[in-house]
Amino acid sequence: MELIPAGTWVEIEQVILTPEQRAPSLPEDTQRTPYVMRVSGFLVESAALGQSAAVKTLIGRELQGTLRGVNPSYTHSFGATVPELLTIGVENQP
């Protein structure tokens, strides 16, 4: 099993509440799922993906969870072209 070295920027996941522990009177589709938190930080001690691990967040707080990713990144974008938007404005020119 490959160990991720301590100090690597990683993402951990933690189940905050199981479906049974969740707040009362949730919609049924939400009630079925666990309440999950993800947070990024620097790995405190070497660990493998899927193992329990601690991270130090950007403000130096230590949090515990399951290691789920290395160098978590953002991939959101402007999306695929929506042709319906391209002609807006033209019809309002004098």
């Binding site: 905050i16 522990q21 953002y74 959101h76």
Partner: protein
């Protein structure tokens, strides 16, 4: 440290003591009954004058934003308006604040107060621009920041706008707790406040709302300087109520007593705010009716004992617009005015187009915010995501819009029409909620007076409304 019970029920049960410790403020001082409290005294006792707030904000790159006349959009509206109609539309470019939205005003006083009281950091539970604002203001005041965000559905999918708002908090150095869908966000907030001893930078404290007052004052000053009169109407995107409350209070403090205060939200009726499935079927994450209506009709549903944001107290009218109409107008702002701004901030611009068309040509209507734009926070990103998630997107008559199923982008400006909400229905709904907090038979004269003021009416109106209800 003694081990505390961290079960949902136990933490919620400690709510009041956690809140008190995390704000250095005791709401009991102001509360008169389950309904009434001394709102004005609570706002006053923040201890900051308007000049203090301006000074605090100028230290951290907040405020004094430009007010622009939208000449080409105004001209386009005049071409479709009746004779003599078509008010001048102005926009307050709040994207110019540090962190890119008016929310910097809201976070600025909280950050100053947290630092003054010796807190090491601040926490906010928000999926909006407020997270970036708290992170940015905390960074400038040498405070740590934790942002608690609802980001993902149970598949781990977050819509682009929320993911961007998550990214930007981290960019300003905050720890971001990313959560799946659910109202337990509040539970996580309480636990984190308890674990860290940080300041609760709630959106709904007097500090947050007073920070927005400068926005109203600046609008009054800028419109007077340029047009020699008070603004005839100010349109305000409405969700939790702080934007509307703060801006209206600022306008009143500047003496704009005749200015119409218009709320505006995106119509998302039928979508459940706590539903895992509905979560990614919304193309707007705030400024919509899922917050706007419940918060107007019962403000005290928040993370503090009494909400400083009380929108019905200041609101004259409430306009609804569809997602497609906002995307259309956002695109127009770029094409006609050369300003690319985030769609959520343009909700009020959409209502302003509708209203300007009905107002006289010599009148002035102010759109009081914009927000930054970029990857994720963009109409193309939101519509592309909607389409990938099975939502129909097409041009046509926006009245055919169905939240969560179909987004209809207008074909022409004439089709941007929105819809007006019945104010008295909202006021009655508020009174019914008050009756749940305290049975009507137990309402004192003080309660009647408070409720009257809280719906921009008086005690006699409330009594009469109750008789009519029966």
């Amino acid at each position: 440290m003694t081990a505390r019970d961290t079960s949902y029920a136990a933490v919620m049960g400690r709510k009041n003591e956690i809140m008190k410790a995390s704000m250095g403020m005791d709401y009991e001082d102001f509360i008169a009954s389950p309904v009434a409290f001394d709102y004005e005294r609570m706002m006053r006792e923040t201890g900051y004058s308007l000049d203090d707030i301006r000074r605090i904000q100028s230290e951290t790159k907040v405020g004094s934003t430009p007010l622009f006349e939208l000449r080409n959009i105004t001209a386009a509206v005049r071409r479709i308006a009746g004779p003599g109609k078509g008010a001048t539309i102005l926009v307050k470019d709040e994207a110019a604040n540090a962190s890119g939205s008016f929310k910097a005003r809201r976070a600025s006083v909280s950050a100053f107060e947290a630092a003054r009281k010796g807190y090491k950091g601040m926490i906010a539970a928000t999926s909006g621009n407020y997270g970036a604002a708290v992170a940015s203001q905390a960074a400038q005041r040498g405070l740590k920041a934790i942002i608690v965000q609802e980001v993902y559905d149970s598949r781990g999918v977050g819509q682009p706008e929320i993911v961007e708002k998550s990214r930007v908090c981290e960019a300003y150095g905050a720890e971001v707790l990313r959560l799946t869908v659910g109202p337990e966000l509040f539970y996580v907030l309480l636990r984190t406040l308890e674990d860290t001893g940080f300041f609760n930078a709630s959106l709904y404290t007097p500090f947050g709302v007073r920070g927005v007052e400068t926005l109203g004052v600046e609008i009054a000053e800028q419109v007077r300087a340029r047009y020699g009169k008070d603004p005839d109407a100010v349109v305000i995107t409405h969700a939790g109520g702080g934007n509307l409350t703060g801006t209206a209070r600022g306008l009143l403090e500047a003496g704009c007593t005749a200015t119409r205060i218009v709320a505006c939200s995106v119509d998302l009726h039928g979508l459940h705010m706590a539903s895992d499935r509905d979560f990614n079927r919304k193309s707007f994450t705030t400024g919509h009716t899922g917050f706007g209506v419940p918060f107007a009709t019962w403000p005290d549903r928040v993370d503090v004992p009494r909400n400083a944001a009380r929108s019905l107290r200041y609101m004259d009218e409430y306009q609804l617009v569809t997602q497609g109409e906002v995307f259309y107008v956002t695109e127009l702002l770029a094409r006609l005015e050369g300003m690319e701004r985030g769609p959520a901030g343009n909700t009020s611009l959409t209502a302003a187009v509708t209203l300007a068309r009905q107002m006289d040509r010599d009148q002035v209507i102010v759109v009081q915010e914009t927000e930054y734009t970029g990857a994720g926070k963009h109409q193309n990103a939101q519509l592309s995501f909607a389409r990938e998630n099975g939502i129909e997107v097409r041009r046509g008559d926006p009245r055919e819009n169905v939240p969560g199923q179909r987004i209809v982008i207008p074909e022409r400006l004439e089709q941007v029409w929105g819809a007006v909400q019945d104010m008295d229905r909202l006021r009655l709904s508020y009174l019914r909620n008050a009756a749940k907090a305290l049975p009507v038979e137990q309402w004192s004269e003080e309660d009647y007076a408070f409720l009257g003021a809280d719906v921009k009416k008086d005690a006699a109106w409330v009594k009469n409304a109750l008789v009519m209800e029966k």
